[in-house]
């Protein structure tokens, strides 16, 4: 991001960068940057809080009016209030959480997806949008595709546009988005940690992705090991061997 600031400003356009990783910004020294103390993925702070977001945007944009520079780095003074848990929040109900309908994780995953359909639809109606869709598959197809990987081998790509590993990556992204959007249904405002704890610790989908990582980390195929290590499970949820 900071490098883009150099390139655009060299071409004559004034820039101000939001910085999430202060050390990187200090290294690259863009013309202007505002470091924000928010988690990765939330450069403008809390969702559904227009006042707070406007404060971040305006604090950054006002730096365009600074007359002495370059390499001005300032710190935004407020933390993201949405990092605190919302104790009213309850995760969507999943029959698989208590009474497992099968010992086979791939089957559990395929059974679990439809159980979230009403929460997901409610959530989409509430927010007017979804970010499910990168794989180009329906969510049930994405689930079947991930399940097929879990059952062993490399299932063929369902599209000529993407390789099988790329479809796997996007199908996993779609599954995570479908589940976490379902978790946003209702009036409560859960923190990302609350949603993450539920997804990775209490759902068959989380289990399935963790297992997929474990299986492919032990693979003799370099490409599969790389995919397993880099693209499936966040660093804070993974152990070195899976």
């Amino acid at each position: 991001m900071s490098a883009l600031g150099h390139y655009l400003e060299q071409e004559g356009i004034a820039t101000v960068a939001i910085s999430l990783v202060r050390a990187q910004t200090e290294n690259v020294r863009p013309p202007r940057a505002l470091w924000v103390p928010f988690e990765l993925g939330r450069p403008f702070g809390p969702p559904s809080d227009p006042g707070f977001q406007t404060n971040v945007v305006m604090t950054a944009l006002r730096m365009l009016e600074i007359t002495s520079g370059p390499s001005v780095l300032r710190d935004f003074p407020l933390d993201d209030p949405r990092e605190a848990p919302d104790l009213r929040w309850r995760p969507p109900r999943l029959m698989t959480a208590g009474a497992r309908v099968s010992e086979d994780l791939a089957t559990l995953l395929e059974c679990e997806i439809p159980m979230l359909e009403s929460s997901y639809k409610q959530s989409v109606a509430q927010r007017g949008r979804t970010i499910v869709g990168l794989s180009g598959l329906s969510i049930n197809e994405a689930g079947h595709y991930v399940a097929a990987w879990l059952r062993g081998g490399i299932p063929p790509s369902p599209t000529a546009e993407m390789s099988a590993p790329l479809v796997l990556r996007f199908a996993v992204d779609d599954l995570k988005a479908y589940y976490t959007e379902a978790a946003l249904a209702g009036p409560a405002k859960p923190s990302s940690k609350q949603i993450g704890d539920w997804f990775w610790d209490q759902t068959a989908a989380g289990d399935a992705i963790l297992n997929l990582r474990k299986i492919h980390l032990a693979s003799s195929d370099d490409r599969l090991r790389a995919i397993a290590g880099l693209f499936l499970v966040p660093g804070i949820r993974a152990t070195p061997t899976g």
Binding site: P47, T54, S71
Partner: protein, 153 residues
């Protein structure tokens, strides 16, 4: 919560020390008051308008996001698994604050909002993005933009 300090130390170090091109000097462009500026968003979140090709791996090129794009048409295809996506799921302004810019323009706090915004894939080697960034600069100038809000993810 995924702050850098929450990641395993080796991963956090990789982020903090990510190799970047070194610049001998930092450019500095001044301009009119904010209330007269035309502002665009340039994001490195791997944003794509639904139906367009998601970013793959570490693609160096960019995607175009017209100001008329609706929230239900914008997807996030960033390669990193370590960033929170639930904020963006709930409210696109967390990553792409177009609604906030439109409000600021209506309030005359900024001059206007660009017709087009742009997104790169932030995990790409910035050196590979240089020619594309200069192309974006040319397009921004064509839209009379004189202020860019650079948004990472």
């Amino acid at each position: 919560m995924v702050r850098l300090s929450d990641l395993p130390s080796a991963q956090a170090k990789r982020y903090a020390e990510l190799e970047c091109p070194s610049f001998e000097a930092t450019p500095w462009v001044t301009g009119p008051p904010l209330s007269e500026r035309r502002i665009a968003i340039v994001s490195s979140a791997g944003l794509v308008v639904s139906g367009e090709k998601p970013f793959r791996g570490r693609d160096a090129e960019y995607r175009v996001i017209p100001s008329t794009t609706r929230p239900d048409r914008l997807l996030l295809s960033h390669i990193s698994i370590n960033l929170d996506r639930t904020g963006f799921e709930e409210d696109w302004n967390v990553v792409f604050p177009l609604d906030r810019l439109n409000e600021l323009a209506a309030d005359r706090a900024i001059g206007s909002v660009a017709a087009t915004h742009y997104s790169f894939m932030g995990a790409t080697d910035p050196g590979l993005m240089e020619s594309y960034a200069r192309e974006v600069a040319s397009r921004l100038k064509g839209d009379s933009v004189d202020g860019v809000l650079l948004s990472p993810v």
